[in-house]
């Protein structure tokens, strides 16, 4: 029996490998995606195009502006002279931030009235807007502290001292790149398994496979093993690129990471085979793949945190294998996640794998029967 299965595995590999186009499709795009997305998928904000509308002629306003001009987060792109110009730079996105300083700024500051500065932000990209406002506030706070010190006034009685663990410079890349391990493994494994049966069914070779002595169970193994191996190789390449190219620290136990990867791929293969056995054409298989991948990625915490979702959707994410693997891969990369915490994430994936694989084999036998 094992000899038969081995022959089938070899045949499945050849089916993917022999066709030059599908071979390229499995190797090249994931690497391009990794590089492009590794750089593009960022929530960090640098070089905010900033316009200044300063009605004040005093020194203090110029000092405040100098702090913005000197910060790597802001690029001063224009100086405005009329209130109406604010709209003219924000509307066509020439500037994302306008700093408006009123005519009494320096006077108020010296008279110990609160000197007002207005930040006008383009809210079309809400996340960027929030971060810009955060940066601007921090610059104002630093300006205030120094002003108080210089004028020997009391500082606030308590200061916040914020440190961030695991990612001291808060680089989005450290968060996104390990996530791409989960993302691309998911995409490649699902596509390979989901299309495998549909392609044979469309070309008509599936009937031929059925008249061979193979049992459905064996056909399933024959379809799973190549996907598992391809998934493992892709995963390993991305992990290596993450560490050696992007310089993301890998602080935890690699064996635990691979244990996670194994169960994750297993769970995904189950889904891929389910899609494969219910779709009659490749188009349906692609659609099925989509209907699985898109929600799985969105409801995994890949780009936006699960904690921000409504409660009912948060429950839904519990059935998503990617959710657990993302925590594992990020935890092992950045946090050096200890074994007992990893185990707590492994068993849900194992449960999901058992469910998806047994449903797939049930569907398989039903479709064959």
């Amino acid at each position: 029996m094992w000899g038969r299965i081995r022959a089938l595995i070899v045949k499945e590999f050849l089916a993917v490998w022999k066709d030059k186009k599908s071979r390229t499709v499995i190797i090249v795009p994931p690497l391009i995606q990794l590089l492009v997305f590794g750089y593009a998928a960022t929530f960090d904000v640098h070089h905010v195009a900033t316009a200044i509308y300063n009605e004040d002629s005093g020194l203090a306003s110029r000092q405040l502006i100098a702090r913005f001009a000197g910060s790597p987060s802001f690029d001063v792109v224009s100086h405005l002279s009329r209130e109406a110009d604010i709209r003219k730079v924000i509307d066509p996105k020439q500037a994302s931030l306008v700093i408006h300083i009123g005519p009494t700024f320096s006077r108020d500051l010296i008279a110990h009235h609160p000197a007002k500065v207005q930040f006008i932000v383009d809210g079309r990209e809400s996340n960027t807007a929030l971060i810009i406002l955060g940066y601007a506030q921090r610059i104002v706070a630093a300006f205030n502290n120094e002003w108080l010190k210089d004028h020997s006034q009391p500082l606030p009685p308590a200061q916040l001292v914020v440190r961030s663990w695991f990612n001291p410079n808060l680089e989005s890349q450290w968060f996104i790149v390990p996530g791409i391990v989960a993302l691309l493994t998911l995409v490649v494994t699902t596509v390979v398994t989901a299309l495998s049966v549909a392609r044979e069914r469309e070309v008509g070779t599936f009937e031929q496979l059925l008249v061979t002595p193979f049992r459905p169970f064996e056909i399933m193994i024959g379809k799973s093993v190549p996907a598992m191996i391809i998934g493992f190789i892709e995963g390993t390449i991305i992990i290596a690129v993450g560490v050696f190219w992007f310089g993301v620290p890998l602080r935890g136990n690699l064996a635990l990471l691979y244990a996670g990867l194994f169960l994750y791929i297993l769970a995904v293969i189950g889904v891929g085979l389910m899609i494969s056995s219910i779709s009659r054409t490749q188009q349906q298989a692609i659609l099925g793949t989509f209907l699985f991948i898109v929600p799985a990625v969105i409801l995994s915490g890949f780009a936006t945190p699960i904690a921000n979702m409504p409660q009912s959707i948060q429950y839904l994410t519990l059935a998503n294998p990617m959710r657990y693997f993302l925590i594992i891969v990020r935890g092992i990369f950045l946090e050096g996640l200890p074994a007992h915490l990893v185990y707590g994430l492994l068993w849900p994936m194992a449960v999901i794998a058992v469910v998806t694989l047994s449903s797939a084999s049930w569907l398989f036998r039903r479709r064959l029967g």
Binding site: H113, V117, L133, P156, P157, F175, T281, N308
Partner: protein, 378 residues
């Protein structure tokens, strides 16, 4: 065979459109891509994707409880941004941070109250889990706010008002509540139309090549232009239908403001739809098999529309090379127009530039498809 489109027969064209329409209606998966998928995606994104963080789990460790620490604790608990748990010691708190049950740990040391009165002031130590850098930044912004509130309140209790030398005032234009949904949902329309225009079309036409029915069509008296138009028109209508559903849901279900005009939205969408269809047709002509066409469509159309279009990730924050690369992503121009049309209004400088780019790309894609299809005849 004449290449002129001028000699097109409307009867033949209608026949082709009719045939394509039947094919769409008969295959449940086409209908689902056009109508079910937009609804599913909108619901998923509208409810599932949010960058608005609140109720952040925060652990507070108070080493020596006093009235000062109690008032600081209260100011954290009053904020809707936090859900606060009090923990006994630092070690447990750090363990919770690693386990992911809390996102930040606030430590008030045993000498907190004493140092409040000293000249240097008392430090409030905060440890944020930086793994998710964006959330970490937002949380530390919220903590900043809570700390400011606490300082103000203390000052009020002591009978003075705390006047910072410079007081910042914020105005967020177009999206006053800074709801992330307001910018995500309009961009989603671009994703949906990319799916219909590029992915679905690429698959359908690749299937014809794969089965040989395309060759059969090519040797029939039907002209190339007619074949392409026969493919374009039904999927164009399908895509515009998807757009209409998505816009309707955005405005009425998700309360996204729509400040532009529907005429401009329709025109801009039609342009993008032509570009996406051009991509889909070109992909199918190059790939010839459904497997490869599907893969290429996902990689060159869907994923860039997702990541390189400014839909979620702000293009201006990307490295220069990537920023240059985004200029060849059609969705980029459409997403920008959509966000502006929904949130800001008909701002012509943005819409005209974006539309110009789309016209150019549609022409290139459709022109290339026409040429490629000709060549393959020989």
């Amino acid at each position: 065979m004449s290449r002129r489109l001028g000699g097109a027969s409307w009867v033949r064209l209608w026949g082709l459109i009719y045939k394509e329409g039947l094919q769409i209606l008969r295959d449940p998966s086409s209908i689902s891509i056009a109508f079910v998928l937009p609804i599913v995606l909108l619901i998923l994104f509208g409810y599932g994707v949010s960058l608005d963080t609140d109720h952040v789990p925060v652990a507070v460790v108070i080493q020596n409880p006093t009235t000062d620490t109690a008032s600081f604790m209260a100011s954290l608990q009053d904020s809707r941004y936090f859900s606060v748990t009090r923990l006994q010691d630092r070690r447990t708190a750090q363990h919770e941070l690693l386990a992911g049950t809390v996102n930040a740990v606030v430590v008030l040391k045993s000498d907190f109250s004493r140092r409040l009165w000293s000249s240097t002031g008392a430090p409030i130590q905060v440890i944020v889990n930086g793994t998710d850098a964006n959330t970490a930044r937002i949380i530390s912004g919220y903590l900043d706010g809570a700390w400011q509130n606490w300082l103000n309140q203390r000052a009020l209790e002591e009978g003075r008002t705390l006047t910072p030398p410079v007081a910042a005032e914020q105005r967020v234009w177009f999206n006053a509540e800074v709801r992330s949904r307001n910018f995500l949902v309009p961009g989603l329309i671009a994703i949906i139309m990319t799916l219909i225009g590029a992915l679905l079309t690429a698959m359908v036409v690749a299937r014809e090549w794969e089965r040989g029915t395309m060759e059969a069509l090519l040797v029939s008296p039907v002209r190339i232009g007619e074949i392409l138009l026969g493919k374009l028109i039904p999927y164009f209508l399908l895509g515009m239908g998807g757009m209409a559903i998505a816009t309707f849901m955005a405005v009425f279900l998700f309360d996204i403001p729509f400040r532009g005009s529907f005429v401009v939205l329709t025109a801009v969408s039609a342009l993008f739809m032509l570009t996406a269809l051009g991509m889909g047709l070109l992909i199918s002509t190059v790939a010839r098999t459904q497997f490869v066409a599907g893969q290429i469509a996902i990689i060159v159309a869907f994923l860039p529309a997702f990541i390189l279009s400014g839909f979620v990730f702000d293009i201006s924050s990307m490295p220069l090379v990537i920023r240059v690369l985004t200029h060849i992503v059609p969705a980029r121009y459409f997403v920008s127009s959509l966000q502006t049309l929904f949130l800001a209004g008909d701002i012509w400088p943005i819409i005209l530039v974006n539309s110009g780019a789309l016209v150019l790309m549609a022409t290139i894609f459709l022109g290339l498809t026409l040429r490629k299809t000709h060549k393959s005849l020989e």
